[in-house]
């Protein structure tokens, strides 16, 4: 797929040096006693894909809903292109394209009709909307199904139309709320490629997901959220480095019933990331020679059949930050 957004790439200078398209400061929202979002802050700059990574119920959709004006925040501030959202929501919304997590399409209408309709509502005249619809259908590789009703589409095709409807007016800031939920790997890859192309066009993208691989592959920076709170943010490398830059050790063996907490020396030098009856994952607390670590781990009172040294994944980081596995 190719990008259809004609905004010139914001390649001049580093992304970090640019003023943010979206600035979120200390955002909070509660539903009765449940604090859905609590003091979340982050920024999305032009040409950047910022990922909000967290499990279901972490507060990702609530955050996006507040940014696009569907929900009123209880506290905090949202600014779009330097202007407070609360001061002029309509002006802010003009700059945004929102792709909701659930499909928001008219199933009786064709793909082209849906795209053109949402394009016109976003402010395009009929001629422009029609022309861009054709471009968008080509970019989404749906030209051959342009006139078919959306209800006859597969889940992946519907997702693509859902995505395209938010982009026809060429927004500068795109909010994507789990755009690949419930579709097959090939369709997911198509959408990821498309979103990746958006970055090249200089738009800012806020991308929420609970798929580690998507965040790792797509996002320039990632914010890890759970239970409504932002636990960490940074580039993938920065997040991985939180576990030490020499990697993590995965020990495999048979130690059913053993308590790693009681093993002498383990807690003093290592952080236990997880342990099961067959596997123990640890990271060194300080910078150590991996060979020394290996010797220490093999000297533990239980016999490890296999020890692997690997670079920490985003899941390991999530596990370390939240105490639970994102895949669970």
């Amino acid at each position: 797929m190719t990008s259809v957004l004609s905004t010139p790439p914001g390649a001049a200078g580093s992304i970090a040096a640019m003023s943010p398209l979206l600035q979120v400061d200390h955002l909070s929202k509660a539903y009765g006693p449940v604090r859905a979002v609590e003091d979340i802050s982050f920024a999305v700059r032009p040409g950047e894909i910022y990922g909000l990574l967290g499990p279901n119920g972490a507060g990702k959709t609530t955050t996006i809903s507040m940014i696009c004006g569907l929900l009123q925040p209880d506290g905090g501030r949202i600014a779009v292109a330097g202007q407070a959202l609360a001061a002029d929501p309509q002006a802010a919304k003009r700059l945004m394209g929102v792709v909701p997590q659930e499909l928001a399409l008219y199933e009786e209408l064709s793909a082209a009709e849906n795209l053109e309709f949402w394009g016109r509502l976003a402010g395009l005249d009929r001629r422009t909307a029609r022309a861009r619809t054709a471009e968008m259908l080509a970019a989404l590789t749906l030209s051959d199904r342009a006139k078919d009703p959306v209800k006859t589409f597969s889940g992946g095709m519907k997702r693509r139309v859902n995505l395209g409807c938010a982009l026809l007016h060429r927004p500068r800031l795109i909010l994507l709320d789990e755009p690949t939920v419930g579709i097959d790997p090939q369709a997911r890859l198509n959408i990821l490629e498309f979103v990746h192309g958006l970055r090249a066009d200089g738009v800012g993208v806020l991308y929420t997901t609970h798929y580690l691989e998507e965040a790792e592959a797509l996002c320039d920076r990632i914010g890890i959220v759970d239970h409504g709170r932002m636990h960490a943010e940074g580039t993938l490398r920065e997040l991985q480095d939180r576990l030490g830059d020499q990697g993590i050790f995965v020990l495999e063996g048979a130690w059913a019933g053993a308590q790693p907490d009681t093993w002498p020396g383990l807690r003093e030098h290592y952080r236990v990331l997880s342990h099961t009856d067959r596997q123990l994952v640890v990271a060194a607390l300080s910078e150590r020679d991996p060979a020394d670590c290996l010797r220490e781990l093999l000297a533990l009172p239980v016999r490890a059949e296999n020890v692997t040294l690997k670079r920490p994944s985003l899941n390991d980081v999530f596990l370390q930050l939240t105490g639970r596995n994102l895949r669970e």
Binding site: S65, C68, G69, L70, L71, Q72, Q90, A91, K93, R94, M96, V98, P100, E102, L103, A104, L105, Y106, E107, E108, L109, E113, F117, W118, R120, L121, A122, G123, R126, P149, C165
Partner: protein, 426 residues
């Protein structure tokens, strides 16, 4: 943008026409059933033949004279009344049996001794047994019998001395020679009464009777029961159809398209306005189908189409406003559906759509019905069609309906905004 929104709703209705087709066909079917029930293609509604039995238990020349008058085929026929009577002479037993079998609308009994008592100037009574399974036809016979007895009463009071003479003549095997002087005497009396009877000083004139120089300029008409009911049915169906049209807002909520719309930089008003206009157009189409089918298939004449059209458009606006408020108030479709149906039925029934308002209790008629917009519509439309009401009657009612519709739409928009601000649909 408004055009895009409207075009979208029409396109969706075109792609999925079944609900609309059903709702548009339903009134046609009901109109058809009502039409056939009330006599099919009559130009103006006429009561079908009224069959009743005459039981002459007196069997004298007077009773034979009386029943002969009743038994001349179509009583009145083209002379006095358009009511087609079909009397049959029967014995009491078979007459009652046919009455039980719903073959007769009533049984009129001339009791034994009727002639003798009448000619003696005594109080006499004709018997009437009405068919309880019918309402209108037995009442017509009862009214006719009332007129007959009033005439006989007048005869008895004014010609009492002559009646005694007549009795002698009649009991003497009707000697016509004896009857001659009596007839001469009767003629003289009638001539002397002529100046008191003719021309009548008090009369009546049917409204809109052009032939007799009716003063309403041809507006309004004689009562037409089918048309009367059809107006009520139209009011009811428009409520249900409005529910279908504006209920689409529920589907927009479920489809998340309304939420998506809210992420755009445009206000909610065009979205609601387009939905209301779309539904309003469908309502007007439905009204045209219902009222037009009555006209085309069953010969109902709408005497003031402009007034009826304005009233119907205003009523459609009210229906759209009401249904939008219900969606805004109850966003959950499963809860809203039964409430919407209930509101439609209650408003329709209580507003006099399904049966004449006169059948309802006085308190209800005087204190509740005047508050109901369904009553504003049906009563005004009926007054326009069958009472010859002019713009002074229908224009305020139309304005009232339109203003209420606009107020309800404003309320709905406010309710929607409040719901969205609370995050109810996000």
């Amino acid at each position: 943008m408004f055009r895009a929104l409207l075009a979208k709703d029409f396109a969706r209705a075109r792609r999925n026409p079944l609900p609309w087709v059903i709702f548009l066909l339903a009134p046609l079917c009901v109109a058809g059933i009502i039409g056939f029930a009330f006599g099919g293609g009559a130009k103006e509604q006429k009561i079908s033949r009224i069959r009743f039995a005459l039981v002459d238990e007196d069997n004298t020349i007077v009773s034979r004279f009386l029943r002969g008058g009743l038994n001349q085929g179509n009583l009145g026929g083209e002379r006095r009344s358009e009511v087609p009577l079909e009397p049959v002479l029967l014995e009491r037993g078979p007459a009652l049996a046919q009455l039980d079998d719903n073959q007769l609308s009533a049984v009129v009994i001339i009791p034994a001794g009727f002639s003798s008592d009448f000619l003696d100037g005594k109080k006499v009574t004709l018997g009437l047994i009405k068919n309880p399974a019918e309402s209108i036809k037995p009442t017509i016979i009862e009214e006719g019998l009332g007129i007959l007895t009033a005439g006989l009463d007048g005869l008895a009071r004014n010609f009492a001395p002559d009646l005694a003479e007549w009795r002698k003549v009649l009991e003497g095997d009707a000697d016509l020679e004896q009857a001659g002087p009596l007839l001469t005497q009767l003629g003289r009396k009638l001539r002397s009464l002529e100046s008191f009877l003719n021309p009548p000083l008090v009369g009546y004139k049917k409204p809109g009777d052009a032939a007799t120089g009716g003063g309403t300029g041809g507006r309004g008409s004689g009562f037409n029961l089918f048309g009367h009911l059809l107006l009520g049915m139209a009011a009811m169906f428009l409520l249900f159809l409005g529910g279908l049209g504006l209920g689409d807002l529920h589907r927009e909520i479920q489809l998340r398209t309304l939420a998506r719309y809210q992420t755009l930089h445009v206000s909610l008003t065009p979205f609601l306005a387009a939905k209301v206009v779309f539904t309003g157009l469908m309502l007007v189409l439905c009204a045209v189908i219902i009222l037009g089918s009555g006209m085309a298939a069953f010969g109902v004449r709408w005497h003031q189409p402009l007034a009826l059209g304005v009233l119907t458009v205003a009523y459609a606006l009210f229906v759209a406003g009401l249904m939008t408020v219900l969606v805004a108030w109850i966003p959950d479709e499963r809860k809203a559906d039964p409430i919407r149906s209930m509101v439609s039925i209650v408003l329709g029934m209580a507003g006099g759509c399904a049966f004449p308002a006169e059948m309802l209790p006085l308190f209800f008629r005087t204190h509740v019905m005047p508050l109901l917009p369904t009553h504003w519509y049906t009563s005004t439309a009926r007054a326009v069609e069958y009472g010859g009401a002019g713009p002074g009657a229908w224009a305020p009612a139309a304005l009232q309906l339109a203003l209420l519709g606009a107020a309800l739409l404003a309320l709905a928009a406010w309710l929607f905004r409040r719901q969205f601000a609370k995050g109810g649909r996000a």
